[in-house]
Amino acid sequence: MEQYIMEFAKYFIAIFMALYTYECFAVFRYNTEERRNGIYIRQNLLMFLVHFTCFLVICTETEELDYLFFYAFQEIILFAAISLFHMIYPRINRLIINNTGLLLSIGFVILTRLSYDKAKRQFIIVTVSLIIALIIPYFMDRFLFLKDLKWVYALVGITALSTVLILGTVTKGAKLSFSIKGISFQPSEFVKIIFVFFVASALYKASGFLEVALTAVVAGIHVIVLVLSKDLGSALIFFVVYVMMVFVATKKWIYLLLGITGGSAAAVVAYKLFTHVQVRVLAWQDPWSVIDNEGFQITQSLFAIGSGGWFGLGLYQGTPQSIPFVEADFIFSAVTEELGLIFAMCLILVCISCFIMCMNISVRLNDKFYQLVAFGLGVTYIFQIFLTIGGGTKFIPLTGVTLPFISYGGSSVLTTLIMFSIIEGLYIIKQREVSKSVKEKRKGVSGRSSGRQTVSRKEDYYEEEDEDYYEEEYED
């Protein structure tokens, strides 16, 4: 019986995940959230099935009641979060919420399998983070002063990063975090959001050479502090996000080009200057020749990826624990080994659908500040995923960042949830504008006989935006 459950579960998990992923992209065929309703409900069902089947395997394998209760708590929290978001904010984008739920549940599954204690701790962190995330969209369009705090952002960001550099504790040779009363924080995670707000607030009004140069200095300080802390992954994220945001704000290709060449030059300098950069590159080029030392982590990760096959070995059937730091930087390899390549590829696609939705929202926002924020956060998210998955699979050199929502780590989960909440907040702002304009339109229709002249200038504005909105939808 156990054998049958384990064997069939593998295929069912992959199939449910594939169907869920299909729905993620089917969403883009429809214009409005109302029409997408059916898809979202199917997604909720499928994510339940993925989560349920995984825990069926976990419970069969461990034969412990604890895990059953743990599963029940997870299910309650996840569905409570999804329903609450939907109830409190009826206009919310449910694709992002569903994806968040799915990714969190995958994170719970794989962490439970790797370390029950860490999974429990992660569960508490996620619960608290979800509550924080729940209130953020409410404030997004009420806190208009957010646009004017650019120097505050710069100051807070640099101060936080410098504090880690000076006072931080060293893990894996890099200074990433510091502890207050036993709780350790990784400020670079939160500063990612602050940094996006800084660039957006600095460039939304004007994006001439002066503004760009000024922000470049601030961005440069961020990056240098991170490089000095040996947090290469975060340094790279800040750099790429900055270049991309400048490109979108200025609409000038020259900045993209300058960014890429400047970045490459900086990478070469860093390679020449720092031995820890050389070590990373060496371990990437030929990890097999240094398998005992620098290449150990990456080769163990490659073993995991290679042994899973399309459907994976099944939960508890592999040895993902042989990879050092598997629950943080190499969680993707653990997923690939035990849940299979199909599942892992679907996981990547789900992340991509989140990113496309963020870009979609960003494109439609009229307010340039909001637009830049949505864009910057989306790029932060996807580029971090690229670094962690690419690094763990030897596609690019290893930088040591977490896989958002799935990796173990409180700062990472909280930060990503806040990022998504902010984007949801911006989406709600946009939805409100649209529906207002639809209402105005109706008013316009009824009042047409009374004369076209009564239409306000503001209404005109909305109308045009509205058309634009539909066009974007159609092109998707």
Binding site: K251, L302, S307, G318, L341
Partner: protein, 494 residues
């Protein structure tokens, strides 16, 4: 304008797209950059996904076999290591459960298959290494796995069927006698390896007990598979290569070659002797080859274009990788514009620094037997699960032509003459016709200290097997290696 429904707005918008972008649009301009970045990341991710899948699928076996990979242990805890069979279904290696519940690997033929089947503890060798991935995985049907779970037995690992022929292997093993050396028997038209013997040998049943002795005994290097890893001076067998180059450079006139052998050849202060100083008298190209006249070949060697010779060597896979999956040593030979005449004379007769493995020489011989085309040698034929259904079938595959069909034909004629009138006469007048080349490779300056070589195939009309033999320190190839070949041919064609 206000009255447009959603749907028509859409259509209008679509129709108006061109116009909008032509106008430069107030907002679409900004959207375009966002779209660029979106596409950039989407393509980046698609590339990465393709890479991951490709990497995982193509490197699966190699990754599992890596000794740093702990997953092997996991698989072995679940699955009983599979059985290795000969081509006709005889068990060559099998895992049995001892009375105390521990597993032991049993090799029924002991020393006979020592190197080719190999061992699976203290590292791995032979088929045990080549097929490790299959042996430790189980494709047992699910229903049987369930039964095994209930009875608490391990799943049966998949079995490997090799191309090896037990009779030929035993004959080759016996024929080599007490000598150190190597024998390889292959099927030139397919690349199937029928027998592979290396001596000195060991008993794989006893590997754990003798392991320490084996690794400390550096002189006889028992663990070395001399067929693929042994590096020997090719001696006169290299005249096949020199002859091929001479034919290539003199396609029309090689048959008109004449030389008068006085037992040695002198150029300046350098001198090449014929084997045991025998003087061969007046020889042409064919008799030079058949009688293995060193003086004549030194003479031929000096006439050759060294750049062209180097190309021919590359064609024959010298100084390069061989298309083999198992561990092997690369053959080495140096020819270049700058080399001295003395060195050139040595190279032409297969002495000097030139080194070759018996496997490589066998591959060249196979190509000659197979109209110039090399079939890649292979030992693992197929993998079956415990129920006998095929998990994976390995097909024969061609490497390509090492020489033209015509060149192969000429070389076959030369090698036939070796058997008819030359150094391989012990193979003449039999029920089958053989062709081959002997060699007596001197490995130190003391006269008579030479390795005995033979490489050849039979029957000449339609080559079915190809054998290559080296008997270390025995003496001349004609006296010591040819009889071994004869016993193998006799056994095969009887």
């Amino acid at each position: 304008m206000k009255t447009t429904t959603k749907k028509s707005t859409k259509t209008n918008a679509k129709a108006g797209t061109g116009k909008r972008s032509a106008d430069g649009g107030k907002k679409t301009g900004n959207n375009r950059e966002i779209m660029v970045v979106t596409y950039l990341f989407v393509f980046l991710f698609l590339g990465m996904m393709g890479y991951i899948c490709h990497f995982a699928v193509t490197n699966k076996q190699e990754l599992i076999n890596n000794s740093y990979n702990t997953r092997q242990t996991i698989l072995l805890a679940k699955n009983r290591r599979g059985t290795i069979y000969s081509a006709d279904g005889e068990v060559l290696a099998q895992t049995k459960e001892a009375e105390d519940g521990t597993e032991i690997r049993v090799y029924p033929y002991g020393n006979t298959f020592a190197h080719v089947v190999g061992y699976s503890t203290n590292g791995r060798m032979g088929v045990e290494a080549l097929g490790n991935y299959y042996l430790i995985n189980s494709n047992e049907p699910l229903s049987m796995k369930v039964t095994d779970d209930m009875t608490g037995t391990k799943y049966a690992g998949d079995s490997i069927y090799t191309t090896l022929d037990v009779d030929l292997q035993q004959i080759a093993y016996q024929a080599l006698g007490v000598y150190k050396g190597a024998v390889i028997v292959t099927e030139p038209s397919t690349g199937r390896v029928l027998a592979m013997v290396s001596k000195p040998d060991f008993d794989p049943n006893n590997i754990d007990n003798i392991w320490d002795d084996l690794i400390h005994d550096e002189d006889s290097s028992v663990l070395l598979n001399r067929v693929t890893q042994g590096m020997y001076p090719p001696g006169s067998t290299f005249k096949i290569v020199t002859a091929l180059e001479y034919i290539r450079e003199n396609p029309d006139s090689y048959s008109g070659y004449r030389y008068n052998c006085m037992g040695n050849f002198t150029r300046g202060s350098d001198r090449i002797n014929c084997y045991h100083g025998t003087s061969h008298g007046s020889v042409n190209f064919t008799t030079s080859f058949a009688k293995s006249c060193n003086s004549s070949f030194a003479n031929i060697g000096l006439s050759l274009d060294r750049t062209a010779f180097d190309d021919t060597l590359s064609d024959l896979l010298f100084n390069s990788e061989l298309p083999l999956k198992s561990t092997y040593s690369e053959s080495k030979v140096t020819i270049g514009e700058g080399m001295t005449d003395a060195d050139m004379m040595q190279v032409a007769i297969g002495q000097g620094t030139t080194q070759i493995s018996p496997m490589h020489l066998n591959m060249i011989t196979c190509a000659i037997a197979n109209d110039g085309k090399l079939m890649i040698p292979y030992i693992v034929d197929r993998v079956e699960n415990c129920e006998g259904s095929i998990v994976k079938q390995f097909n024969q595959s061609g490497y390509g032509a090492l020489m033209t069909e015509e060149e192969a034909g000429i070389l076959t004629g030369l090698m036939e003459e070796v058997v008819k009138t030359g150094t391989g006469r012990k193979l003449s007048g039999l029920s089958y016709t053989a062709a081959g080349k002997t060699g007596s490779a001197e490995y130190n300056s003391v006269k008579g200290d030479s390795h005995a070589w033979f490489t050849g195939f039979a029957p000449v009309e339609n080559p079915q097997i190809c054998v290559t033999i080296i008997v270390e320190g025995a003496g001349s190839g004609g006296d010591f290696a040819v009889p071994v070949a004869k016993r193998i041919f006799d056994a095969y064609f009887e």
